[in-house]
Symmetry: C2
Subunit: 199 residues, 2 copies
């Protein structure tokens, strides 16, 4: 069986930020209003995506360190019916029993690192793809490790000026040439670009 591809699928502002400053449990994308394009991005994923499992970081799940530390069993900011509808693997240092949510979303907590999470996600994804959805820290770890097969970026029509960058210095540890696969501009001004990582 062919191994499921790993897609880094994430939104960023035109100036490269995936979240604004002052993130919190209530405002996981921080200040700057990036959430205004969330529906567009979700719609694009529904129409074009082929995701069978998603890997995310602990902060992406919990909405920030504080909530997690206050309550390691928090369900995060996704609520009872998370928008995935497939298995989600959450990278964490805190072991925890799996949780089954409504709508086909299961949450599995992985303490064995990014390769272990990827292996489990691939097993769950079957013939579909595995997505890395962020946050920045987890996305960068997969990029640095050379494990990302394709980039699916949703470039939002805004300059934030500050926040959390996806591509910090040396996220690509050598020059990485990309092979464009698909470009779609949406009515709301989001440019959805997909590339194959070729070197």
């Amino acid at each position: 069986m062919t191994m499921a591809k790993l897609i880094l699928d994430i939104s960023m502002s035109l100036d490269g930020f995936i979240a604004g400053p002052n993130r919190s449990l209530d405002r996981p994308l921080g200040e700057g209003g990036l959430e205004r394009w969330a529906r567009d991005v979700a719609g694009y994923r529904e129409q074009h995506g082929n995701t069978g499992a998603t890997v995310v970081g602990r902060r992406m799940f919990s909405g920030g360190d504080r909530a997690w530390e206050d309550d390691p069993n928090t369900d995060g900011w996704w609520g009872d019916d998370p928008p995935f509808h497939h298995p989600v693997f959450i990278l964490t240092h805190h072991a925890r029993e799996p949780v089954t949510k409504k709508g086909g979303t299961t949450l599995t907590f992985v303490t064995g690192g990014i390769e272990s999470a990827l292996e489990q996600a691939r097993a769950a994804a079957g013939a579909k793809e595995v997505a890395v959805g962020g946050g920045a820290n987890v996305a960068r770890q997969y990029l640095r490790a050379g494990l990302v097969d394709e980039l699916q970026l949703h470039v939002l029509p805004v300059l934030l000026g500050q926040g959390l960058r996806l591509f910090e210095d040396h996220v690509a540890q050598a020059v990485v040439v990309l092979q464009p696969i698909r470009m779609v501009e949406s009515l709301t001004g989001v440019v959805h670009v997909r590339y194959r990582v070729t070197s």
Copy 2:
């Protein structure tokens, strides 16, 4: 007469770099191979551009500090027939007489700052547009001053990992919402995106 629009027209890697590390007179875009898409970008500008005058920084002209300091009268790395074919205004602290090159390119050296250069370029552009072509320092100054009317970015299909960023922290001093105007994907994988700066 309507004032000529100011377009920030520049190439950057998908991870936001307009030049790689170790720039030199011989290699103004540094390491990483960004120059491989220069012909595509030049062709796009020829086909879609409406530029009547260009403003550039001293380093963009001279290919680096050293050449300029060694010889303040250097003609830079453009040679006898620069690729502009219209008036070019070079921001510098070193006053110098104008130079007329082949093919309709004139070089005017401006010591009065970015607003003075813009004013002179607008007068020269007539009914056409004024482009800011870089380098990063000059581009950022115009962005910070809120003088840029439109962004024309040529997103190159490569991750450099290091180099000179166009959008450093706080280049946008507040959140700037963009209005997409045009997106074109070229055969070489360059995504040409144009936005109006709306706030």
